[in-house]
Amino acid sequence: MLPTPAPQVASIARHDPALTSRWATVLLIAVLLWPLVVLTEFNPSVLFDARSLRSTGRFVASFLPPRSDAEFVWLLLHETWRTVAIATAGLTLAGLIAVPLALGASARLSISALARPMAAWPFALRSVLRATMVLLRSVPEVVWALLFVRVVGLGPTAGVIAIGITYGGMLGKVYAEILEASDPAPTQALLRNGSGRLQALLYGALPQCAAELVSYTVYRWECAIRASVVLGFVGAGGLGQMLDSSAKMFSGGEVSAILLVFIALVAASDRISAVLRRAMA
């Protein structure tokens, strides 16, 4: 039986100091979100009236059955391979851009911050690198692709460069944040004993972060596949271009066959990510 505390001690337990700020935060979020909902004229009931349902029915019926003759399937596989190649090449380029940016921008490897507040030049450098990553990912990849199609012509190269630039900024930001979220003690211990930055990264931070980094990279590869499909609409080749021409010719069967391939690709990527996470756990 715990001893009953005296009355002036028990009154402390009655008032939770965090409750007021929690309510305030919830109200603030509600006040900010309401005008956004109103502005987008969000009205889901439109989907369910009789005329919409009939158009939806006709639209969906035109997708079935998916086209499956040998010649089309062969073409489909060829374009799928090209899309996967564009996505993988784009992501590799993105990785080459992201890794040095992330390592430079992360405060985890700072030597000047070991015993004092970070010195001026290292802080400025880290800020510049973060700003670079922001710039790289602000412009959507479609816009980069349109630009590069004018420079290098129609074809996969424009798509690869566009994905490389945008995804470089995204991967860099998330890699830096994953590194900062890791336990600082192992890395700091190594830096304090005189090891180099990259050595401290490889022996201190990477063993903790490896699973997160890999699973995020696999997720971005899946996003790159979707992006390369979109880029195909602007002439960068692959499944996107095929989808564009099938939709313009109103051949629903071809469109549904292509969509089934997308679903298969995303499912495969999900499987790969799960296997890799389990292997690295």
Binding site: M1, P3, P5, A6, V9, I111, S112, L114, A115, R116, P117, A119, D183, A185, P186, Q188, A189, L190, L191, R192, N193, G194, S195, G196, L198, Q199, A200, L202, Y203, G204, A205, P207, Q208, A210, M280
Partner: protein, 291 residues
């Protein structure tokens, strides 16, 4: 061992009136005017009650905190007057083992131990060692000295707390450092293991002419295993001399008058013993009675 002209008896550490904080960005000093000399080859036990400043002293010696005032010299130079690159090279000559071993959970013991060799390795050699540890026999020797040879290829998160602490100490044994600063190496070990570990550490330091500074709570181990004891209390040195001359009365004085009062009270309940200083000036502290 790096080729250097240092001999036994050279001054490794020299403190004069050092005021230093406990943590990197704090402004209140935890150490008040310390004056201390350590020579190469010495083995020093640092003792004191919790909060006395033992860990703060180790942090100052390993350049982990900047001193607030006073002078600190390591290997004959003031580390805070050096450039960042030179200071990092100076850090390579010392080794700090924190109380909680800083080991990433998913790493293997062999890699965790060989991480102690990083300051003296090139980047290419470190990367190659990550793929295939060529100096595994070195790590194995160090682990065998601490009675953990069979755990060489295990993962760190599969070890118990005491085993992890010994892996942290094995890292010190393979490091190429001239000054070993070890914070509470025995906190997770049973008494029998504790004696063995201290013997191995002091023996290894003596064999390679390295300076060993160890913080300890176990005063008996300090008296038996070390030549010199430095005792701290509230950030001030109260004893600095041979371990053999450190008397029992000095031990009792070191660990605070409150414990001494309870020993002398013999039989009186905690309620009866008057508090040495009222916490709230107006009212006496509320008594909590355990039934």
């Amino acid at each position: 061992m790096p080729a250097s002209a240092a001999r036994d008896g050279d001054l490794v550490v020299s403190l004069r009136g050092l005021h230093a904080p406990a943590a990197a960005l704090a402004t209140t000093p935890a150490l008040h005017g310390l004056t201390l000399d350590m020579r190469r080859g010495e083995q020093i036990a640092l003792i004191g009650s919790s909060g006395a400043g033992k860990t703060s002293l180790l942090q100052s010696l390993s350049c982990a905190v900047t001193p607030l005032s006073g002078s600190l010299e390591l290997f004959g130079t003031n580390p805070w007057a050096l450039s960042s690159r030179d200071r990092q090279r100076l850090r390579g000559r010392l080794f700090l083992a924190p109380q909680v071993p800083p080991l990433p959970p998913r790493q293997r013991v062999v890699t965790a131990v060989l991480a102690g060799r990083l300051p003296s390795q090139s980047l290419a050699a470190s990367v190659r060692s990550l793929w295939h540890p060529r100096e595994a026999s070195l790590a194995h020797e160090a682990l065998c000295a601490l009675d953990m040879g069979d755990k060489l290829w295990e993962r760190v998160d599969r070890l118990s707390g005491g085993e992890r602490q010994r892996v942290g100490l094995a890292r010190a044994l393979v490091a190429d450092a001239e000054l070993w600063l070890i914070d509470e190496p025995l906190s997770a070990l049973d008494p029998a293991r504790a004696t063995q570990v201290i013997e191995q550490l002091t023996e290894a330091a003596r064999r390679s002419h390295r300076t060993l500074v160890c913080t300890l709570h176990q005063v008996e181990v300090a008296r038996r295993g070390f030549d010199r004891i430095v005792a701290l209390r509230s950030g001030v040195i109260v004893y600095d001399g041979a371990a053999a001359d450190f008397t029992d009365a000095q031990v009792a004085a070191l660990y605070g008058s409150r414990e001494a009062l309870e020993i002398q009270a013999d039989g009186a309940t905690p309620q009866d013993a008057a508090p040495s200083r009222a916490v709230d000036g107006a009212r006496p502290p509320v008594p909590m009675i355990c039934r």
